[in-house]
Amino acid sequence: MPETRSTAYDSKIEGNVILTRFDAALNWVRKNSLWPMPMGLACCAIELMATAASRFDIARFGAEVMRFSPRQCDVMIVAGTVTYKMALAVKRIYEQMPEPKWVIAMGACASTGGMYRSYATLQGIDQLIPVDVYISGCPPRPEALLAGLIKLQEKISTERSLRDQKPKLTEKLDDALA
């Protein structure tokens, strides 16, 4: 009977293995590949386009793939004035996005209705859909949008997906590894 058993990993490979929480790995994956759904409604959309272009390059942060199909997106960037006429369409697109999804309200109009305190403008998209990050500005500079995206990434890194959704399994794993 051999005294030792060879393991599956050898020392050359062991150096490339990271042990971490499942949540941390999941959050790292999600936050670094946030595919935006550009809900570009007005002038903020121009700044969104500028952020996606080469000088400010939102692709550095993983948000390169601006898919205009909500089924393939993670984060909806509401960029521009939301009129009452458009409001329910934005809500419908939000409902078509698969979980997990986040919302960035870019600019004053999407956050609070902006300068348009009138009969035709929805006073903030958060009256209809839950917003994670608000970016102020009229329009916000591309750097501000990138800062908002980074803030959303920080928010995602604090999420507890496995621990919240599978509490009993988490408990069992904690007990087994303790």
């Binding site: 009452y84 006429k85 409001a87 329910l88 209705g113 305190r117 009138s118 009969y119 035709a120 403008t121 929805l122 006073q123 009256q127």
Partner: protein, 191 residues
């Protein structure tokens, strides 16, 4: 043709139908009656070569009778002359003849007037709302409609709520003082 000749021939053909004529800083305005609109418009386009309709707009003189005024801005490209035609329409009548077959651009201008003021246009090929949605129950640019809006609900189409004004509308009072004095939170009603 100079503008004097143009307006001279307009005055000659329609002298008795022109209710009022005024001139201010080189801009000539003719006030006509709503029943003569199409005849005068056709004459302006065909004889006087006012081939470009710059704008149609409407004014709500709330409290006056007749209540609404419609203003047509015509431009003659060959002669580079602008003309303004005004006509009044009362709220009970509420209908004006369309000029969309004379100048096709009037189609959307008249739809906007219908949407915002509620004045209908007789003979318009497609009279429906253009800025608000079909079925919106109010006419927003009338003087008796509040700036913050009125609540309305059309399930699955659109909804409107009353906007919180919070001491606004925030207006600037002209002065050379600091912005704290130039922009008080709300304009007091007596100003």
């Amino acid at each position: 043709m100079s503008c004097d000749k143009l307006f001279g021939s307009l005055g000659k053909s329609f002298g008795e139908n022109i209710q009022h004529q005024s001139e201010f800083r080189g801009e000539t305005t003719y006030t006509i009656s709503a029943s003569d609109l199409r005849e005068i418009a056709k004459f302006c386009r065909d004889e006087l070569s006012f081939d470009y309709l710059l704008d149609i707009t409407s004014i709500d003189n709330f409290g006056e009778e007749p209540r609404f005024e419609i203003v047509y801005h015509l431009y003659s490209m060959p002669h580079a002359v602008t003309l303004r035609l005004k006509l009044k329409v009362s709220e009970d009548v509420g209908v004006v003849d369309t000029v969309s077959d004379i100048w096709p651009t009037a189609n959307w201008h008249e739809r906007e007037i219908y949407d915002m003021m509620g004045i209908k246009f007789d003979g318009h090929p497609d009279l429906r709302r253009i800025l608000m949605w079909d079925g919106y129950p109010f006419f927003p640019l009338r003087k008796d409609f509040p700036l913050e809006g009125l609540p309305s609900e059309m399930p699955d189409v659109a909804f409107t709520k009353v906007t919180p004004m919070e001491g606004g509308p925030f207006v600037t009072v002209p002065s050379s003082a600091t912005s704290k004095d130039r922009e008080p939170r709300a304009r007091p009603p007596e100003l």
